[in-house]
């Protein structure tokens, strides 16, 4: 049944967050367990790529 395992799977109320940067230079937070499932586009951004991603001069 769909509700089976919901209670068992629920973790503690205080979730751990990670701070991340958006392309428009703002800070956001995402739960750590969401992040672990995220698709990695680039493992190590170079400074040049970072500036380009931020829309700043290369």
């Amino acid at each position: 049944m769909p509700w089976v395992g919901v209670a068992a799977g629920r973790k503690s109320e205080e979730a751990e967050y990670e701070t991340l940067l958006t392309a428009d230079g703002k800070l956001v937070k995402v739960k750590k367990d969401h992040l672990s499932r995220a698709e990695v586009v680039n493992k190590h951004m170079s400074n040049k790529n970072l500036l380009s991603w931020l829309g700043k001069k290369k």
Binding site: M1, P2, W3, V6, G9, R10, K11, Y17, E18, T19, L20, L21, T22, A23, K26, L27, V28, K29, V30, K31, D33, H34, L35, R37, A38, E39, V40, V41, N42, K43, H44, M45, L50, W53
Partner: protein
């Protein structure tokens, strides 16, 4: 008669059958709705917990330099920081100044810009340029002196009313509304950088009418209170350098953040640690343990003649007075 009873019984049974069917029908629908509803709730919980539910994704950068794609729904905004509390100062900052004595010509543009922008009208400027000579064998040099913004400030320790205070970003300020003019802080300061407003400040009316703003030290000035260099937190708040730094035509003053290990005079930027090591930077009266935030680079390889600065030199006049007709 019997036939009529038989028909009535038959109708009655038929009605009960219909009611039973309707009940089963309703129960089935209710059951299905409950299952569907629970499934929806489960999906919402799953969504909140970040299980794989397809949706619009957004690119984000992690603190260790990875670029990742995250479901838009799992991204939460971080509320923007409120305006800096003037008593607390900027978080994660430690402001420092480096003064390169080899470059100073006593042009006094630093002093006039500071006086003008802080509406200093009293007898003494907050920034003074001293004529220095360590011994007869050494040639003299010019030494601009500001508040040293000590990490162990004796002035803060002796203030009986908590008017002068040190912020977490290293800046030492004075709350003129709290200051009672006892001048203990002036006596305690080994650098003699504090000034006292003996008379009614001759400020423009619009400035005098301003409310006391801790973020804009000493503006408006108040009679019977102490003032001093504030490292221009009102400029830092705008992402700009202090007035003395930008006004100096010789690039004498460098300002920056010790945590970033960087200082700049607007044109040149250096690593603070490298600059101090390479040029043997020092702090005034280091032996006192006050740990000033102002560093000096010794006047070696001087770029100008000392005597030229004498034209501007006036030992007891640091604030130009406007001539009134």
């Amino acid at each position: 008669m019997a036939r009529e009873k038989e028909i009535a019984r038959s109708d009655n049974a038929s009605d009960k059958n219909k009611q039973r069917r309707a009940f089963i029908d309703k129960s089935m629908k209710l059951g299905l709705a409950a299952v569907a509803g629970t499934f929806g709730v489960t999906r919402l919980i799953e969504s909140a917990e970040g299980k794989a539910i397809p949706g619009e994704s957004v690119e984000l950068m992690t603190t260790d330099g990875k670029l990742v794609k995250v479901d838009q729904r799992s991204v939460e905004k971080i509320p923007e920081a409120e305006h800096v509390n003037p008593r607390e100062g900027f978080a994660h900052r430690k402001f420092v100044m480096v003064i390169d004595l080899a470059r100073c010509k006593n042009a006094r543009k630093c002093q006039s810009s500071c006086n003008k922008n802080h509406y200093i009208t009293g007898p003494n400027a907050w920034l003074k340029v001293y004529k220095m000579q360590n011994s007869e064998e050494e040639s003299p040099y010019w030494q601009p002196t500001t508040c040293q913004h000590c990490d162990k400030p004796p002035c803060v320790k002796v203030c009986p009313v908590d008017a002068t205070f040190k912020r977490r970003d290293g800046i030492v300020l004075i709350d003129n509304d709290r200051c009672i003019g006892c001048r203990f802080c002036m006596a305690a300061c080994p650098y003699s950088t504090r000034v006292f407003n003996w008379g009614e400040p001759d400020q423009p009316e619009e400035i005098a009418a301003l409310p006391n703003d801790l973020d804009y030290g000493g503006v408006p000035a108040e009679k019977g209170t102490v003032d001093k260099c504030d490292f221009c937190p009102h400029m830092i708040d705008k992402g700009k350098l202090p007035h003395c730094v930008t006004a100096c035509p010789n690039g004498v003053f460098f300002f920056g953040d010790q945590y970033e290990d960087t200082v700049t005079n607007g044109d040149e930027t250096y690593r603070l640690s490298e600059l101090l090591e390479e040029k043997s930077g020092y702090r005034l009266m280091e032996e006192l343990g006050t740990k000033p935030s102002v560093y000096y680079l010794p006047p070696k390889d001087r770029l100008q003649e000392f005597e030229k600065g004498l034209d501007n030199y006036d030992e007891f006049n640091s604030v130009e007075k406007e001539e009134k007709s």
